[in-house]
Symmetry: C2
């Protein structure tokens, strides 16, 4: 009995001691990020000196060069570029669209081509519209009602869902597969309501697919702002015969050479066990990609800088990966995972930040129950920072291909304003708050620190 | 043993049933707010059709009239105005300030008079500056170093504090008592660094006091933007002899008649037990007061509208109070509590929203341990809405005077961006996100519902 009591008390003391040691380390991390952080300055450069970084563009190249240089200044053990071929889609001249309610009477409509779309025929395209809210509705209408028309997908995001990512998930098929589905019924074009919960005048682009449809049969697809979608729908109720005109000049060119940007601190105890943190360096072209995913890029860089600044020597190899081409191909994420497999690298942990630079709320985890239990045991360490969300779920697109016997996770910031800016011209630097960005970086660093210190359970055995 | 088991199981079933009933009700509340809310429309009117609502101003009168009309349209049991005399301070012509580095060489500085300050002498005031970070520093310098100078209070808010309200609390004495302290050492004016964590060009006003100092001895006090404060501090390091000029034309007029706006749903079971929800109708004059406290006003109105829309009949009398004059006098809050005491009204619960219209995180409570335990038992009901913060602490300035044997609480939204806008020209409608505002209203309504249903413990006995 006495021995048991003694052991319990010893265990308790050890736990208390390490909790307080961890608390101190985490406080140091947050202080360093909020008082002397670099993330905001980096984001300013990426956003305002470089701008939108579409895969294959000159800006994307500049971003590769800039972030590599910045990582080199951090005194990491190794910084390198990992070659990856990426698709190159270009928007060309600005799109133009109007509704014709009578010959000579027209109303301008803000649209933008979807990423991967073909251009309209020279001189543009004019046709009647058919409005649908779902693929089921499209199927029910069939070729007789659809052929020769422009399909107008107008299902709004569900405002009652608390996570805006769930609302996005419920609507994104309209944008991604809308053209492929409409082609089957002889449609000549596609207009999609922007994936935005707010009513405003910004069209939101994003990737789309034509599936296996040959180039000659493809039809142009564009997004329309939510305000214009509401207006258009109202006009169609008054007169279903109104015509919609749009012209766009986008083009898919040949793949070009690009790079993932990588830097690492070699592990002091387990150099062959890798822990990755990353975001994606490419962005859409309409804004400057500050939230998607400039924020994730600079936060990931900041994780390594904060570990160095606080004097922490990681046991595992800690690697930052700035992935290229998340938006329209995921080539960077796939290439990184492929090379890792070829080299038999053991990636025990990978964390992605790709949900905007808003106030962090926590993380979502794709991992075993044992590893998740560890995370839950750390909850109280995060409480002073109002980090409360620790749930099982997805991680991030770029780290997804690393899935295996490891921990994958994604930072989960407050999601309410994310789709106000996502893929639109107002995804710009001034909509990122410095403190919110820095809190995210500190939260990521703290989780990285805890997993480095306490290890990841693989095959139900701790393999540090 | 069997009986015990049966009772436990009965209790468990009852708990489960009521949890699920409460879950449904709370889901209805959130749905109604996010899908058919009125709060954003009301805020648009208050902000863009009325604007800044300084106590005693014509706009404040308009806001009284507008909100009373809107409450009348909700079909409440009673809507009325409660008279309250308020101070009337006016800014007058826009302030003007510059630093003179040499005769004829000057740099403009963005300033604004602090609320309650006197004007500068006709033609303005020019003097050398003395920069301090604290009252201790001021005391150490003493009259010999301070007399005839302008005191420049430049202690920045602490960026490492996670709650920006704590950072505000650590600095606000410079604004509130800075002039009173400086007068004791013969200063001729006061310039205060704006209470803003961000570096930008907006001066932030706010209330100040002269204590018992007679009118003839008062000196003018103004806030300077954070960017200008940094610049000024740098200039002073280069040359402590530079002079600062400012002119302002503000004036304290006689008290005028104004009103708290009140509406109520009479309780079906306990009409004499009152539950209050409120925000303050007045604001500073530089912006349109959308976050401070237009948001709290429309959220409080929305609580009653949501209870009606969801068909809930409160057992207690539920009252919305739109307090007048929180910013520079708290006359509305004091008057409301005084009348309540005179009428021996039993206020069992009061909730204030006065921390901006940002994503809600939870509540802070000023109540007994027994009542707080109840709140904690409801935590899981709020989890789907990512509401996680339930802590003991302050409530709100306007409901503070109701303190007694009851529950006082304050909505606690995400605080990171609050002081970017607080009391400045950029506290405007476009900085309030519709969803964030609506989530706040739904969160407040849900708490109100639970306290109405399960009662407040007074004198350690449940008095519904």
């Amino acid at each position: 009995m006495k021995i048991k009591l003694y052991l319990t008390s010893l265990l308790f003391t050890t736990l208390l001691f390490s909790q307080s040691e961890d608390s101190k380390m985490i406080k140091n991390i947050y202080d360093a990020s909020l008082l002397n952080g670099k993330s905001y300055e980096w984001l300013n450069h990426l956003s305002n000196q470089i701008g939108g970084r579409l895969s294959g563009s000159y800006n994307a190249e500049k971003a590769v060069k800039y972030t590599k240089e910045q990582l080199e200044q951090l005194g990491l053990d190794r910084v390198w570029l990992q070659p990856v071929m990426v698709p190159k889609w270009v928007r060309g001249a600005k799109e133009y669209a109007y509704v014709e309610t009578a010959p000579g009477k027209s109303t301008m409509m803000p649209i933008c081509a979807l990423g991967g779309s073909v251009a309209t025929p020279t001189g543009g395209l004019k046709a009647e519209l058919i409005e649908v809210q779902s693929f089921d509705e499209l199927d029910a209408l069939g070729t007789s009602k659809i052929a020769g028309k422009i399909v107008f997908y107008n299902r709004p995001m569900q405002a009652e869902l608390i996570s805006t990512f769930n609302a996005y998930g419920g609507c994104v098929e309209q944008r991604y597969k809308g053209a492929e589905k409409a082609i089957a019924y002889g449609a000549v074009g596609v207009i999609v309501r922007s994936l935005n919960l707010r009513l405003d005048d910004f069209p939101h682009t994003g990737s789309m697919t034509y599936g296996e449809i040959p180039v000659s049969n493809r039809i142009p697809a564009a997004a329309i702002s939510t305000n214009a979608a509401e207006l258009l729908s109202g006009m169609l109720q008054l007169d279903p015969k109104i015509k919609f005109y749009f012209s766009q000049h986008c083009k898919q060119l040949k793949d070009v050479q690009s790079y993932n940007v990588i830097g690492e601190i070699t592990g002091s105890a387990y150099p062959n066990k890798v822990m990755v943190v990353g975001g994606h360096l490419d962005s859409w072209d309409l804004g400057d990609g500050a939230h998607d995913d400039g924020a994730g890029v600079v936060q990931s860089m900041e994780v390594l800088r904060l570990l160095k600044q606080t004097g922490y020597k990681p046991k595992h190899t800690v690697r930052v990966v700035l992935f290229m081409n998340e938006e329209n191909g995921l080539r960077g994420g796939k290439k990184y995972a492929k090379v890792a497999a070829e080299k038999s690298e053991n990636h025990v942990f990978a964390l992605e930040s790709d949900s905007g630079g808003f106030t962090p709320r926590g993380f979502s985890f794709d991992c075993s129950d044992e590893n998740f239990e560890k995370v839950v045991s750390w909850k109280s360490l995060f409480k002073p920072y109002l980090i409360h969300y620790f749930e099982k779920g997805g991680s991030g697109a770029d780290v997804g291909p690393l899935k295996g016997d490891n921990v994958l996770c994604g930072l989960r910031p407050d999601s309410q304003r994310y789709f106000d800016h996502h893929h639109a011209a107002n995804d710009t630097f001034e909509h990122v708050n410095k403190r919110e960005l820095e809190l995210g970086a500190a939260t990521m660093t703290s989780l990285m620190y805890l997993f480095d210190k306490y290890g990841v359970i693989q095959n139900s055995k701790i393999k540090k």
